[in-house]
């Protein structure tokens, strides 16, 4: 099931809600997939990250200050 993503696998974005402090950098870097609610916390579009946005998604994960944003492999059966 879930494990470290490989280039062939689809990945999706997950927020560790306890770690997330609402910095909002993810929404700035990846507005296609992440918007902020009225209090500045991310609302992530569900489903696999499209290939053309993967680099941006990886970057958003890297710069999240509390390391709350993660990429997880999507189980094959559920891949979009």
């Amino acid at each position: 099931m879930a494990g470290p993503p490989t280039p062939q696998q689809h990945v999706s974005l997950h927020v560790d809600r306890i770690r997330c402090d609402g910095y909002g950098m993810c929404a700035e870097l990846l507005p296609e997939l992440i918007e902020l609610d009225d209090w500045g916390y991310p609302i992530v579009r569900p489903g696999a990250v499209p290939d053309e946005l993967l680099d941006h998604a990886v970057h958003a994960v890297d710069v999240c200050p509390p390391l709350a944003l993660r990429l997880r492999a999507v189980a094959a059966s559920r891949a979009a």
Partner: protein
């Protein structure tokens, strides 16, 4: 004429008489068989679903822990019962502690656990006293609890303390706030071991299924889902715990506690994590997870609460939303800020201080919070509010636009 109710968990001496002793328990039901792998298959065949609220298949849960246990799993017996409208778990623990202990030991033997933790709400003193006495009785009769070891832990009196990761967190680190998943408790829980977190009623059912078999269990029930369930019913401020066959209608439950269709205008099914139904929609509905799902509701922890005619549904809803916002574990932004904002806006509408903007905002927020907490506390709260806005839609609009309430006892203590 109404069929006599099937009493299984509540069978035996009157519940009001208090704790059934170990001697009485053994004389009435005989000793519980030891748990083993076959027991898990029996549970799967019974179709028993968890009674803590999530209705997860019990056999599958036990199997998931057994597969990982290496004989070092932990069974966490969940008697936290933090839901304000629910009293069925404490009633069961108080009157039938040996049935709960039987189920806990059976689970420990079946999944391969060396430790059992009884996690009981600190406010439920009679329940804790009964379980303590039951453990002492077993020690003195040579039915000791040395293997597995059994200990009693006081669960903080908070709504989310009974959530399974919160329960594990509290036993491990004295912090009853939910944790991020993964890992889930069945993977890594108490002491880092695979942990079976199971509600006390569920374990009591398992204790009877172990004695009498899955075929016996399935003889009760009206629909596809079989067995009996405990309910906490509330009407006119009075709370009664009953046992009914799954599929029993709301009308029958009402009749059993002397409630009539004419005296209530809505029913809260499933407690604060559940939702409202108009009385006419609810009346002939069977209390069965499948049938309730068809009506967009769930049995949850088994709360069935009748909202009296003179009590305003918007006010009752606002009061519960206020409670839910206050019970956030205050870890996740969407829950901390979102539930607070929703509760405030709902209160403004309920008290005639709200506007159509408030109504528009809570309509938007209700759709944004689900799935955005470490636990499902925000999901439950907005699901409940969504049901209210559906069932009391006209009343919400009336409060917000013309600041009127059609119910005389607007501030009445409802639900």
């Amino acid at each position: 004429m109404m069929k006599a109710p099937v009493q299984r968990l509540l069978g035996g001496p009157p519940i009001a008489a208090g704790m059934e002793s170990f001697a009485e328990h053994l004389a009435r039901l005989g000793p519980a068989p030891r748990g083993n792998a076959a027991m898990i298959s029996t549970l799967e065949a019974s179709g028993l679903l968890g009674r803590g609220g999530a209705a997860f298949p019990v056999g599958r849960k036990w199997r998931a822990v057994a597969e990982r246990s290496d004989a070092r799993a932990v069974v966490l017996v969940n008697g936290a019962e933090g839901e304000p409208l629910s009293a069925k778990d404490r009633t069961l623990m108080t009157a039938r502690p040996h049935l709960v202990l039987d189920g806990a030991l059976l689970a420990a033997q079946s999944v391969g656990a060396e430790e059992v933790v009884l996690y009981v709400g600190s406010a439920h003193s009679a329940a804790r006293a009964a379980l303590s006495r039951a453990m002492a009785e077993r020690s003195s009769t040579g039915e000791g609890l040395a293997t597995p070891s059994v200990r009693l832990v006081d669960a903080p009196a908070r709504y989310v303390a009974g959530e399974e990761t919160a329960a594990v967190h509290f036993v491990n680190e004295a912090d009853a706030r939910p944790t991020s998943r993964p890992p889930r408790p069945f993977e890594r829980g108490v002491g880092g071991q695979p942990t079976l977190v199971q509600n006390v009623e569920t374990l009591a059912h398992a204790a009877l299924i172990a004695r009498f078999g899955d075929g016996w269990y399935r003889r009760a029930g009206r629909g596809e889902l079989r067995g009996t369930t405990l309910l906490t019913t509330t009407a006119a401020g009075r709370s009664v715990v009953v046992e009914v066959e799954l599929g029993t209608t709301v009308a029958e439950v009402a009749a059993g506690i002397g409630e009539s269709r004419e005296s209530a205008h809505a029913v809260l099914v499933g407690g604060y994590f559940g939702g409202w139904l108009p009385i006419d929609r609810a009346w002939s509905l069977g209390l069965d997870p499948h049938e309730l799902r068809g009506a967009g509701r769930a049995l949850g922890c088994g709360v069935v609460s009748f909202l009296p005619n003179d009590v305003c549904g918007v006010r009752a809803t606002a009061r519960i939303m206020e409670y839910m916002a206050g019970q956030s574990a205050a870890q996740c932004g969407p829950c901390v800020f979102g539930l607070r904002a929703i509760a405030d806006a709902t209160s403004r509408i309920a008290t005639g201080l709200g506007t159509s903007d408030d109504l528009e905002r809570i309509g938007r927020w209700v759709g944004q919070l689900a799935g955005r907490g470490a636990c499902r506390h925000p999901d439950g709260a907005v699901g409940f509010l969504y049901s209210a806005m559906t069932v009391f839609g006209d009343e919400f609009a009336g409060h917000a636009r013309s600041r009127t309430c059609s119910r005389p006892r607007a501030l009445g203590r409802a639900a």
